[in-house]
Each structure stands twice: as structure tokens, then as C-alpha cells.
């Protein structure tokens, strides 16, 4: 007995038929004896790229999955728990499994019984293997898939249950589901053959059956099942067709009753497998208009043929445009501009909101608990630290949402082809364009998106150079320094701004070139990429990917960033400088004035004169407090561990034009660039202000512009120093969260260390050269 195929439609032949003995080619091996269907704990999903395997995985597991890495790699290992299975369908599937695919009874298969038909949940896990064209290729994805199927993967990735129990993964999967593309079945059958050779219980899910049906493809499921010796299900991950039956089939898979030819890697074996696959395909699938077909079937087949021809012609026309050297570049540029604008501009709305929320929370903690040590740890360490992680999530979500839409539509593969010739001379692939562009907003999501780059050395090179792109955190620094360089000349300031972006891009491509010729030497994999058909992208897939990436970021980076933030807070807050008596006294005066003002408003709300008088007293007290508080803040920063480090390190940064104040700012910026402006405001101008305040407050900018060094004559921000600091900030690695993500994504902290050393060294060298040149040219 065979499992009937779901979904009627023109061109499908659901009626079970036995394979004709005369049609069986001479090489077909003797059917193996049937074996029982064991209870499955793990099922591996295998398939070519672009077969919709991951979409199918998402449909079967919902959000009940976790993502980690395959051991020793940065390839995603997605493990999920299959959601509920319809008991009635499971019973039918078990009944089907009691006869193998050639119609012989399997007495060892479990009896489905006559229990209820209510859905029940399973603890069966599904592991989504990387998409591979063949298990025998000598590339990372094939190797990982091979090892996962053989159960020889080293510890690292884990199932849901082993994650909880702390155990380690290494076991062979209990069953395999090969996801094949119905619109490209001939090639997909080769991987099916390789999977069948593994002699594990196997199910073949022929996906995209809705698209294949429109193209007039007819698959003889029964014949295919008999030829392969395993269950075959026609499904559509997009529409949900056949998924219930697939869930049941996955739990009742049997060891294939046929074994394809070959068994070892080699040209002869590959040819034999290819011939086997082509033969099965020729017997089981066709788009030919059948002889003797009814008028309705004939009309349907002709409609399908017309649809096929039009679809192919349309794809050809669109490809001519999107891959045109001029128009294709313009379209690509506009799309990338849209992506960039979205993650750079649109994301600021939720980011500003998050900033306010965490700022309010921190202030609320101080209000509730005072200014003691515990409150400071909680507010300025923990809350600020968590905020520093969470604030990246809007950009990460938006970037991956858009990338998923572009990828699902079929366009991203074309984009990679288009940009490949631009980036290849520098050792980078076309796939690198999206990460490099999005690094202009933030390097974190850009580095995470490098997982899409297939070649490991190219991926590593892209990760290492992405932070050279001028991210949004550098903008306040650029704005400050270019304004100081060109006061009252916004045109020149803007030009310098653009120059910073170009310098970053130049440094990125040249660094990649150097890396690819030294530490990452090796032949780059030339680009051969399958171009999926254009289609409407799936919002469900995009949202699932987005949520998954956000959780992955929060889990992987969140703890590290929080830890780093706590350390930095401590370095900047300790040792604590006791407040001088005058400051304490002035704060008490302000507090009393505030109480008087509140009392006046409450007691005599209509007495405007009284209220105004109280207000005036409060303002006066505040104005007298401000310089004392600023002086204390400046002194506290100077006496903190960061400040002391700044004074200690000042001789190192003196060659690039920094005094100890600028050194404090540069060192503090190694944690996060955006703190440079606020640190300078405190240390140099004696004001507690953030970048926004500085941008809007000419007073602070003027104080920065006119502040002098300890000699009383030289400006802190003299032109030569401004140029050298500007170059330094363009090139330096000053973002600890980025280093954390680099270490995670590359699988080893040494790459993050290399990134820090290379970028810092390059920044220092370039800043020194610029400062020296400026002095030589008399730019002081």
C-alpha cells in the first residue's frame, strides 16, 4: 500500500501504480528486506540550497527551535521540536508503513491501534543541515552535513534536550528527510540517492509542488516511492499543503528498500548515481502533454505550458535588466540605499525610544535609591549595560528582515553576481556587499550577516574589514571635529565628512587585499550561484528569521556586552571622589530652593509673584551649583582609573597630537566611540553633556575650541590634532561589542584580537603621518 499524494490538481497522478518490471533498468539492486520503524528522537533535514528546506523547517517547528553553530564552524545549526501531529494521520501513516513501498507487509512496524485521533505533541527534534548539492564535495557545508549524518560531529552544537541536560551531540540522526525541489527534481534526486545510501529511515519531501503544478509538472508519486524505496510526500512549505501528512510520515519513516548505485566518491560512481537519478526522473515525472488525454487535461496541460513559457521569458527579461551593467547597478544602488536608509534612519525611532526608556529607568533607580554605590551599580552599570545590548536590536531586526525579503524574492543572488566583479579584485565576494553597506549603520548586524558568504576565507575577510566602514557611532565624532576644523564653513566640513567615509572604504578594501595575500591566502571560490525564480517573498519567513537573529544576538552578545559595560563603568566611576563641602552645601541650597518653589505653587497657586520669586531663587541656586558640579565631574573623571590611565598613556598618544585630556577621550572611546564627545565635554569644557547637547550648544563647542593645554598656550583642539584625531577615529577599532561579535562569528578570539591590533595600528600610523605632515606644512 502506498501513501496517497495530497492535493488534486491538473497534472498530478495520485493513483497508486506499481512500477513496471520491464521498465526497471539492469543496474537496479535487489530490494533490501523491510525493517521496523523505530521511535525517532532526531530527524535530519537534508537538501540542495533553494529547496525551501529552512522554510519547511520553520513550518514544522514554529518558533520552537534554537540556533547555534555546527562544531568548529559558524554555520547555523538549527534544532527545533516538531509541533503537534494529527493522531489520525499518524495512524494512517503507520498503517501505510506496515506495508513497505513495494507492497510487502512489514510485520515489525508498530500497530497504530484504535486510539483517539486527537493531536499529540512529540519530542522529536529536527536538525536543519546546511544546504548542499552533494555530500561528497570537499567544501565546509558538505563536510558538516556528512559528519552530522554519520554522527561524527564533535561536541558543540546540541539538541534542545542535550542543551538542557548539558550533554553533547555526536549521535547519528534516527532518520533523514530529504527536501527536494519539485521544479528541479532531476538534480535533487542525486542527493536523495546519496541519502538513501546512508541506510537510515528516510522520507523524501518534494517541496514547491504548487509551483511545479503551475508549470505543468506531473509526478507519479507511487512510482517514485517504489523506485526510491521510501515514502515520498508532495508538499508546499509556502501554502502548507501536505505538511500534516509529512509530520506523520516523518515519525513512521522506514529504512529504504532500495539502494542506489555507487557508494564511494569517484567519477564512475557519480556517473552511475546521475544515470540512476535521471532514469527515475524520466519514469516518474514529466511535463509532456499526455497522449490520449481528455480535453480538460489537454487544456490544463497547454495552459501550464504557456505559463511555463511566459514565466521563463519574464525571468529572462527581468534578469536582463537587473544584471545590466548600468541599469542593474542603478537598481542595486537604489535598493541598497533603501536598506541603508531604513537601518540608519528608521531604526533610530525605536533606538531613541529604547534610549529614553533605559535612561528613565536609570534615573528612576537613582531617584528611588539615591546616589549610593548599589544604585550606581544598578543604574550606571547593569541598566546601562543591558541598554547597550538592547539598543542594537532594532537595527539587527530591520537589517535581517530586509535581507530575508530580498533573498526570498530571488533578487539577492542576482545582486551578489552583480557586485562580484567589483569586489573580486580585493579578495571579497559579491555576497560581501550587503554586510559592507550595512556596516555603515552598525558593524554588529553587518558581521552577523556575513554568515551568508559561502567561502570561509572570504567570510572571514569580510568580517575583519567591516568595522572600517564609518558607522553611525562615528558621526558625532566626525561632526565635532569637522566643525572645529572648519568653523562657519559647512561646505568644507561636509567635504571632510565625505572624505572620512571614503577613507574607511579604501582602508577596508586594501586591508582585505593584504589579508587575502597573507594570512587568508588561498584561491577564492569562483562564483557559481543558483538563481532562484523570482517570487513574492514570504513575510512569515522574514519574521521568523528576524526573531531568530535577534534572539541569537541577545543570547550570544548580550552577556558579553553587559560584562564589558560593567567593567567600563567601574573603571570610570572608581575611585570615587568625595564631594567637597562647598558642593554639598550648594546642593542643599538648591534642594531647599526647589522645596520652596513646590510649596509656593501648592500654597498660593494664583500668586504669580510668589511663584516667580521662588522660581528665580531656584534658578540662581542652580546657576551657582552648575560650575561647582562640572568642576567636581571633571576632577572625578581625571582621578578615575580611566583618567589615571589617560595620564599614564599620554606619552604614547602625544606623537599624534593628543594631550592627556584627549588621551582620556580616546581611551574611553575604545569601549564605544560615541562617548568621545561627552568625555571631551566633561574633561575639557567642564560640562556634563552628551553629543546632542554639544551639537546644539555653541557654548560648549566654543569652550572646546578655545580650551588650552597645560602650557596655557597650545589649543587642545588645534588643527593638526583635529586632522590626526579625525583620521584616527576613521580607522581605529573602538567598539567592544563589535569585537565580541567578531570573536563569536569567527569562532575564535584571535581574529577579534587581530582586528583590534590591525585597525589600531593602522589608525595610529595614519594619525601620526597626518600629524607630522600637518606640522611640516605649518598647519597648527
Amino acid at each position: 500500500m502506498t501513501i496517497s499524494s495530497p492535493g488534486p490538481g491538473p497534472g498530478l497522478n495520485p493513483s497508486p501504480t506499481e512500477p513496471t518490471q520491464s521498465a526497471r533498468p539492469a543496474y537496479a539492486p535487489t530490494p533490501a528486506p523491510p525493517t521496523a520503524a523505530p521511535r525517532f528522537r532526531r530527524i535530519a533535514f537534508l537538501g540542495n540550497p533553494n529547496t525551501g528546506k529552512t522554510t519547511l523547517f520553520n513550518r514544522l517547528t514554529g518558533l520552537r527551535h534554537k540556533t547555534s553553530n555546527f562544531p568548529g564552524t559558524t554555520l547555523d545549526a538549527r534544532v527545533g521540536r516538531m509541533n503537534t501531529v494529527d493522531a489520525g494521520l499518524l495512524r494512517d501513516a503507520l498503517a501505510g508503513a506496515r506495508g513497505d513501498c513495494c507492497g510487502q507487509p512489514d510485520p515489525a512496524a508498530p500497530d497504530p491501534g484504535t486510539a483517539s485521533t486527537a493531536p499529540f505533541s512529540t519530542d522529536t527534534e529536527i536538525i536543519d543541515l546546511p544546504g548542499v548539492y552533494s555530500l561528497e564535495l570537499d567544501i565546509l557545508e558538505s563536510r558538516v552535513a556528512r559528519e552530522a549524518l554519520a554522527g561524527t560531529a564533535a561536541s558543540g552544537a546540541a539538541t534542545l534536550s542535550t542543551i538542557k541536560s548539558g550533554g553533547q551531540l555526536g549521535a547519528e540522526p534516527d532518520a533523514i528527510c530529504v527536501v527536494a525541489d519539485a521544479t528541479n527534481l532531476a538534480r535533487n534526486l542525486r542527493l536523495v540517492g546519496e541519502a538513501l545510501r546512508r541506510r537510515l529511515p528516510t522520507v523524501v519531501a518534494v517541496n514547491m509542488i504548487d509551483i511545479a503544478r503551475k508549470r505543468g509538472l506531473r509526478i507519479d508519486v507511487a512510482n517514485l516511492q517504489a523506485s526510491l524505496g521510501c515514502q515520498v510526500l508532495l508538499v508546499s512549505a509556502r501554502t502548507g499543503e501536505g505538511l500534516n501528512a509529512l509530520r506523520a510520515a516523518l515519525l513512521t519513516a522506514t529504512i529504504p528498500t532500495r539502494t542506489p548505485p555507487g557508494g564511494t566518491a569517484g567519477a564512475e560512481e557519480e556517473r552511475a548515481l546521475a544515470a540512476w537519478a535521471d532514469d527515475i526522473f524520466a519514469r516518474c515525472a514529466t511535463a509532456d502533454i499526455p497522449e490520449g488525454a481528455s480535453p480538460q487535461d489537454l487544456a490544463a496541460a497547454q495552459r501550464a505550458a504557456t505559463h511555463r513559457a511566459r514565466a521563463d521569458a519574464r525571468t529572462d527579461r527581468v534578469d536582463q535588466i537587473v544584471l545590466h551593467p548600468l541599469w542593474g547597478g542603478i537598481i542595486f544602488g537604489l535598493l541598497m540605499l533603501g536598506v541603508f536608509y531604513t537601518i540608519f534612519s528608521l531604526a533610530t525611532i525605536p533606538m531613541d525610544l529604547l534610549d529614553k526608556v533605559f535612561g528613565t529607568l536609570a534615573a528612576g533607580i537613582h531617584t528611588a535609591l539615591g546616589d549610593g554605590l548599589f544604585a550606581s551599580v544598578l543604574a550606571d552599570g547593569v541598566v546601562v549595560g543591558i541598554g547597550a545590548t538592547v539598543i542594537f536590536i532594532p537595527q539587527i531586526c530591520l537589517l535581517f528582515f530586509l535581507i530575508s525579503l530580498l533573498e526570498d524574492s530571488g533578487y539577492l543572488a542576482r545582486g551578489a553576481l552583480l557586485t562580484d566583479r567589483l569586489l573580486r579584485p580585493f579578495g571579497l565576494p559579491g555576497h560581501a556587499f550587503v554586510p559592507l553597506l550595512s556596516a555603515h549603520a552598525c558593524a554588529l548586524p553587518a558581521i552577523m550577516s556575513c554568515r551568508a558568504i559561502p567561502d570561509p576565507k572570504q567570510r572571514l575577510a569580510t568580517i575583519l574589514v567591516s568595522p572600517f566602514m564609518s558607522c553611525s557611532a562615528r558621526i558625532p565624532v566626525y561632526a565635532l571635529l569637522t566643525t572645529l576644523l572648519f568653523p562657519g564653513r559647512p561646505g568644507l566640513a561636509a567635504l571632510a565628512f565625505v572624505g572620512c567615509y571614503l577613507l574607511g572604504m579604501l582602508a577596508a578594501v586594501l586591508s582585505s587585499l593584504i589579508a587575502r595575500r597573507t594570512i587568508l591566502r588561498g584561491r577564492a571560490r569562483p562564483l557559481a550561484i543558483e538563481l532562484p525564480s523570482y517570487k513574492m517573498p514570504s513575510l512569515r519567513t522574514a519574521l521568523t528569521t528576524t526573531v531568530e537573529r535577534a534572539f541569537l544576538f541577545a543570547k550570544n552578545a548580550g552577556t558579553n556586552i553587559l560584562a564589558v559595560s560593567l567593567v567600563l563603568w567601574w573603571l570610570g566611576a572608581f575611585p570615587q571622589l568625595p564631594k567637597p563641602a562647598t558642593l554639598i552645601e550648594r546642593e542643599q541650597v538648591v534642594a531647599l530652593a526647589a522645596e520652596s518653589f513646590d510649596a509656593a505653587k501648592a500654597a498660593t497657586p494664583t500668586d504669580a509673584q510668589a511663584i516667580e520669586s521662588a522660581q528665580s531663587a531656584l534658578d540662581t541656586a542652580g546657576q551657582e551649583l552648575a560650575p561647582l558640579a562640572a568642576a567636581h565631574a571633571r576632577e572625578a573623571k581625571s582621578q578615575s582609573y580611566v583618567g589615571r590611565l589617560g595620564k599614564l598613556a599620554a606619552p604614547i598618544f602625544e606623537p599624534i597630537g593628543c594631550d592627556w585630556r584627549l588621551t582620556v577621550g580616546v581611551l574611553a572611546s575604545f569601549a564605544a566611540r560615541e562617548v568621545f564627545s561627552s568625555t571631551m565635554a566633561v574633561v575639557v569644557a567642564g560640562e556634563v553633556a552628551d553629543a546632542g547637547d554639544i551639537a546644539e550648544n555653541a557654548g560648549i563647542r566654543d569652550r572646546l575650541a578655545t580650551a588650552t593645554r597645560d602650557d596655557g598656550k597650545t589649543l587642545v583642539f588645534n588643527p593638526a590634532t583635529n586632522w590626526s584625531i579625525l583620521v584616527f577615529f576613521v580607522l581605529a577599532m573602538q567598539c567592544l561589542p563589535t569585537l565580541v561579535i567578531t570573536a563569536r562569528e569567527t569562532g575564535h578570539p584571535k581574529w577579534a584580537l587581530l582586528q583590534l591590533v590591525w585597525m589600531s595600528g593602522l589608525a595610529y600610523g595614519a594619525a601620526f603621518a597626518v600629524h607630522t605632515l600637518c606640522l611640516a606644512l605649518g598647519v597648527v
Binding site: 570537499d138 521544479t183 532531476a186 508549470r215 521563463d312 544584471l323 553576481l417 569562483p526 543558483e530
Partner: protein, 97 residues
Amino acid sequence: MRTGECGVIVEKQLDADDRAMLRAMGLEASATIRVCRAGEPCIVAVIAGQSGLDGGGQASGPAAGRLDGSCCRIGLSRDLSNRIVVTVRGDPAGRAL
């Protein structure tokens, strides 16, 4: 090869790894292909099944010769396409993609 032409792959002047990868993707010796876009990047469609060339050696329509309704387009960079030799009916010498 020009856009729209069909041919049969006869040789791939590639190293073993690249050849294995292309073979796994369907671009193997004796595979019939149609050039969807010539130049760089080069796009070919693998025509599964029989050759499907008409008497003039040209595809009869965009999906000609595709007896199986399948669609599989592969984009190739120049350094790959230049090293794949294809024969077209009437031109036994073979040409690079």
C-alpha cells in the same frame, strides 16, 4: 556563446574542486544548457532530459526542450564561464561560455 543559444557541455577546463561543484549543481559534461545571459555575469539554464534542439540548432521558445517543466538557472562569474566549452549544432569546434 550568445544569449538564447543552446548547446551541450563537452569540457570544463577547471580544477577538480570547481568541476565537482559544477557537476553537483547540474553543469556536467554532456548536459544541455541554454544561455540566458551571455557575458559577465553569465547565466545558463540547465535543460534536463533530452537535448531539445530543433532542426536549426536553436531553442524553440524560451523553455524549449524542457520536457520536465523544471527551471534551474545558474549564474557564473567570468573566470568560470570562460573555462566551460560548449558545442552548438553546426559548430563542432566548441566555444567557451
